[in-house]
Amino acid sequence: MTVTIGWYMSLAAVLFSIGAAGVLMRRNALVMFMSIELMLNSVNLTFIAAGNELGLVEGQVAALFVMVVAAAEVTIGLAILVAVFRRRATANVDQLSELRG
């Protein structure tokens, strides 16, 4: 048997769900962020696998751009987190519930 594209896609799907579970279950903002990074990585894997299958370079181009965006997002997100921590001295997102109606 060979490693077909289906294997990569399935692995990506599983990693995606693990990342989703992490976002929803953890209260620490940093861990939530890292879970989101995991989800982005799984998407990257999907892109690359598809690009490889179709023989197109666009898969890798897309993965590169996703990486750029993820990097930018991490930068800003962590800056916000630090700013919030400076004010509240907590990284627990459940305590940031002023918008509760």
Binding site: V3, G6, W7, Y8, M9, L11, A13, V14, L15, F16, S17, I18, G19, A21, G22, L24, R27, N28, L30, V31, F33, M34, S35, L38, A49, A50, G51, N52, E53, L54, G55, L56, V57, Q60, A63, L64, F65, M67, V68, A70, A71, E73, V74, T75, I76, L78, A79, I80, V82, A83, F85, R86, R87, T90, A91, N92, Q95, S97, E98, R100
Partner: protein, 179 residues
């Protein structure tokens, strides 16, 4: 055959890393788990003939992003263990349903529509070297590339702004449930 074995090993490492990341109480352990997952990602990219992207993955993700994460973890406070009780009702239930659901659905559905054996679009033995990738980026996808330049600039400026205008810390108060 070797490919299969390599795939299985690397997949196991990736999954282990992911699970560690999600379940570890200490955020540093989570970061290390994610790091492991990302390394294996790079390995997968190599297996898929995307050498350049693999290198970028290591340099950017494992090198820069995870380092940034670790810096912030250190700054914010490493030692605190968060309690394991869940405060939002039904959250555990919904999480399990959603996460399992997503995974199962995608696999099930995808298994019927994975692109298989269709090489009509490109060349079958494409290798993602620097030349091929940069041909695409600076050729067809120039505008997207330039947009990312803007994006990064804005991100950098934003970060500096946030750092400069932050205010003093307020001592931690009792957990406040919103009114």
């Amino acid at each position: 055959m070797t490919e299969v074995i390599l795939f299985v090993i690397f997949a196991a490492v990736a999954l282990a890393g992911a699970l560690v990341m999600v379940s570890a109480r200490n955020p540093v352990y989570s970061a290390i788990g994610l790091l492991a997952a990302m390394f294996t990602m790079a390995l997968f990219y190599v297996m898929l003939d995307a050498h350049f992207v693999a290198a970028v993955q290591i340099v950017v993700y494992a090198g820069a992003v995870m380092t940034l994460f670790l810096f912030v973890i250190m700054m914010i406070g490493v030692d605190k263990k968060e309690d394991t009780a869940e405060s939002i009702p039904f959250q555990r239930g919904i999480t399990i349903v959603v996460a399992l659901g997503l995974g199962v659905v995608i696999i099930l559905a995808g298994s019927q529509v994975w692109i298989t054996g269709n090489t009509a679009f490109g060349s079958p033995d494409l290798v993602g070297t620097i030349e091929t990738v940069s041909d695409a980026i600076f050729g067809t996808w120039t505008i997207a590339f330039l947009s990312t330049v803007f994006l990064l600039t804005i991100a950098a400026v934003g970060t500096v702004a946030l750092a400069m205008f932050g205010s003093k810390a307020v001592p931690e108060v009792e957990s406040e449930e919103g009114a």
